[in-house]
Structure formats: C-alpha cells, structure tokens
Amino acid sequence: MESFGRIGFMLFLAFIVPTIALVLSRFLQPRFVTASKIQTYECGIKPYGSAWVQFNIRYYIYALIFVVFDIETVFLYPWAVAFKGLGLFAVIEMFLFLTILLVGFAYAWKKGALDWH
C-alpha cells in the first residue's frame, strides 16, 4: 500500500509541477494578441486549408503489425520471469511460438509490407 501511495504522490507531483508552472507563467507573461500572431505557421504564407487531412495508409500498416508483435512480446515477459522454474520444456515451447510467428513475419517481409513506399 505504501509503495502505491508513493507512486500516487509522484503522479500528483508530475501533474502539479507543470500545472503550477503554466499558471504562474500565465500571470507573468505579456499578452498582445494580433490577428497575424495567432495565425497558423506555414513558412510565412497564409495557411492553405486545414491540416486535418487524410493520411497515408502506410502508417496504418505499421500500426497493425505493431499491435500483433506487441501482444507477442507481452507473452514473452511472463515466460522470462518464470524461466528459471520452467526448464528446457518452456524453451522449446517458446521456440515453437516464435517460429510460428516468424513464418508470418517472413511472409510480411517477402510481400513488402515492411517496406516504406
């Protein structure tokens, strides 16, 4: 309980320090708002349309592959922690698990899903 209390206090500190700094800075700073000052920066020209446009799909593909491998990695952690008590059988088990996934990885590599187009 004490340890989680301390982490909770650290979380509180981590929130309160930037908040106090921002509020303090709010009172100390000058404020002269002009139309061109609050314009979005676009290398000196007037901004052309909104930035909220459709994005390239290649980012999405990486995110999808990432989720698959993230879940795989999450399974490796309990394995690594319990490793000493499990012995050789667990090693073979994990090898099998990773080999099956590596088939998919090799397929993705071969099909060029990992390439940046």
Partner: protein, 353 residues
C-alpha cells in the same frame, strides 16, 4: 544502507508520532527524488550545450556562474516570462493538455528507478513492465500535440513520432527480455543485485539494441525525424511557445536522462561500484554507502555518449529508419533471446547463476 538513507532514517526516528512519521515517510523520498531529477535536468541542459560546443570547437554558455552552470535557470526564468501563443485554429483544450501529458510519464517513471542503494520511491515487483507501460503514454501526448496544433508540420511530426515510436518499441521490449531471464525478476532492485557480473558481459547484443531503440524513443539524433528542422520546421512542437514549449523541452531531457538511467540499471550494474565483489570489503562498502554517486556518474556517462552521437552522426532517412527497426533490430533481438535462453537453460559460463 546508504549514507543519505541513514541520515534520513535518523532524522525520521526523531519524529514522535507514528502517523506523522508514516505520512512523512510517504512524501519526503518521493519529493526528494522528483526534485533531484528536476534539478539534474537543468544541469543536463547546460552540460549538453557545453559538450556539443566542445565537439564543434566553440565555447558554449560560460557567463552565468562557474562555467555558465546557471544558464539553464536563467533560460527557464526567461521562458516563463514569454508570451504563450495559442493559434486561432488550434484545439485549445488538447493543445494545453498535450505538453502536460508528455511531461507526466517522464517524471512518473522515476518512482520505479533505483537511484542508489535503498534509494527508490517504490520497489514494485513489476517495475520494468510498468516502466514500459507508462512511457508508452508519451506517444499519445506527442500525437495529441501534433494534431491539436492544426498545423501541417506539427501533424506530420506527430505522425512520424508515433510511427517511429511504435516501430522501435518492439525491439526495445524484446531486448530487455534477456536481462529479465537472467535476473528472474521484473524488479529493478533485483536486477541490479543480480549483476555480480554486469549484464553488458552477458547481453552485449541486447545492450546495443536497447541503446539504439531508446535513442529512437527519445527522438535524439540520429533519430530526430519528428523534429527534423530542415523538413518540418520544428516538428510536433512548431506552434508551441512560452512555457508549453519548455514543457516539451524539459520532458525530452528527462527522457534522455532516463535512457542513461535504464542503461545503467539494466546493463551496467545500477548503483554498484565497478567490480565491487572482486574488490572485497572496500568495493562492497563503496557500493553500499555511496551508491547514488556511481549511479549518477554512470548515467551522466551515457548522457554524454548521446550528446557525442548528436555531435557526430547525420540524421537517418525515413525509409532507412523503418527498415532498420523491422529488418535488422527485430530479428537481432529475437536471436538474442534464442541464444540467451539456450545458454541460460544449459547454464553456460557466466550465464550459470
């Protein structure tokens, strides 16, 4: 117990009431480590500027205080007085939350890192896992900053930061598995105590992968594509000014210090004096009494290496960046796990304990 911890315990025992003592024992160590980290960050900024100036044959800030060490404090004060501009098209709420959300995980992870012998906010037994979980929140803050600015460069920088962070997170997660396997625990204190032989000897490949990936996670050169000033002005923080910008800046330095701290803890024996178990009583005493000194020295060394890399290497290209993570680091990290698990299972040489 460490000298500082002994001092603290002695003072604590003078306080008469038990509830008061418990409350103080909850607040003071947390406050001490948080302020230590925030203090170190100011020194780090000055140190990086001096060091990079040395690499580039300049002097760097040398006016304020001995060797210019108070420069960053003056800069912090200055940035406090600067106007904080919010553009007309920005999403105001997210725009304000984003810098805080980037800053919070940076400081929060220091509740899990042992900075000395017995000097830790809380020794939870899932520390490393929790550390990785907390630091994955940073990505969300950067994406939020990029999106809420409604600026093309910001959004581009934010998206790049996320694509890079998720690509390098997998090898990062995998490179630590070997260390956990050898320690048999996720607690950082246990990992440091298990390193009678430093993990760098047993996990050289793991360390290299870990270092490269964390360099990429904190967006330092040569992986600073999210803030590539030649392409994206300033990346995800283009529209930020005043203290909100300083928030991102501080978070980046805290994260870089965390990189060094993690390298130290996981691969270089944490707070332990080099070869302390071979030096006999002197070595063990040095480890036990002055752990925080060795920890900070080692961490500063890794921070200096990061600055050195910044002074030396050019920035990588996006396609190289992605290909490097998926086609080299990921297979290498898996190979590291394979080899480590076989060696550890048959108890080969330094892997035997």
């Amino acid at each position: 117990m460490e000298v500082l911890v002994q001092l603290y315990t002695a003072i604590l025992s003078l306080i008469p009431f038990e509830p008061v003592r418990n409350a103080i024992n909850m607040l003071v160590p947390t406050l001490a480590i948080a302020s230590m980290v925030l203090g170190i960050v100011f020194i780090l900024i000055w140190w990086e500027r001096r060091l990079i100036a040395f690499v580039q044959a300049r002097l760097g800030p040398n006016r304020l205080g001995p060797g210019g060490i108070f420069q960053s404090f003056a800069d912090a004060l200055k940035v406090m007085l600067k106007e904080d501009i919010v553009t007309a098209d920005a999403d105001v709420i997210l725009f304000t939350i984003a810098p805080i959300l980037v800053f919070v995980p940076g400081l929060l992870v220091y509740s899990l890192v042992p900075v000395g012998n017995g000097m830790i906010v809380s020794n939870v037994n899932v520390a490393i896992f929790l550390f990785l979980a907390i630091s994955s929140i940073t990505t969300l803050g950067i994406l939020m900053a990029g999106w809420s600015s409604n600026n093309k460069y910001s959004l581009m920088g934010g998206i790049r930061a996320v694509a890079q962070a998720i690509s390098y997170e997998i090898p990062l997660l995998l490179s630590i598995v070997g260390v956990i396997m050898l320690a048999g625990s996720l607690s950082m204190v246990d990992i440091v105590q298990s390193q009678n032989v430093w993990n760098i000897v047993r996990q050289p490949l793991g360390f290299i992968i870990f270092f490269i990936c964390s360099l990429s996670e904190v967006n330092r050169i040569p992986f600073d594509l999210p803030e590539a000033e030649s392409e994206l002005v300033s990346g995800y923080n283009t529209e930020y000014s005043g203290f909100k910008f300083a928030m991102f800046f501080l978070a980046e330095y805290i994260n870089t210090f965390t990189l060094g701290a993690l390298c130290t803890t996981l691969f270089f024996g944490g707070w332990r004096f080099p070869f302390d178990n071979l030096l006999g009583d002197i070595g063990l005493q040095l480890t036990a009494q002055l752990g925080i000194v060795w920890f900070i020295l080692k961490t500063m060394f890794f921070f200096s290496v990061v600055v050195w890399i910044r002074g030396t290497l050019p920035r990588v290209r996006t396609d190289q960046l992605m290909a490097f993570a998926w086609k080299y680091l990921l297979p290498a990290a898996l190979l590291n796990i394979f080899v480590t698990s076989i060696f550890a299972a048959i108890g080969f040489g330094v892997f035997s304990r």
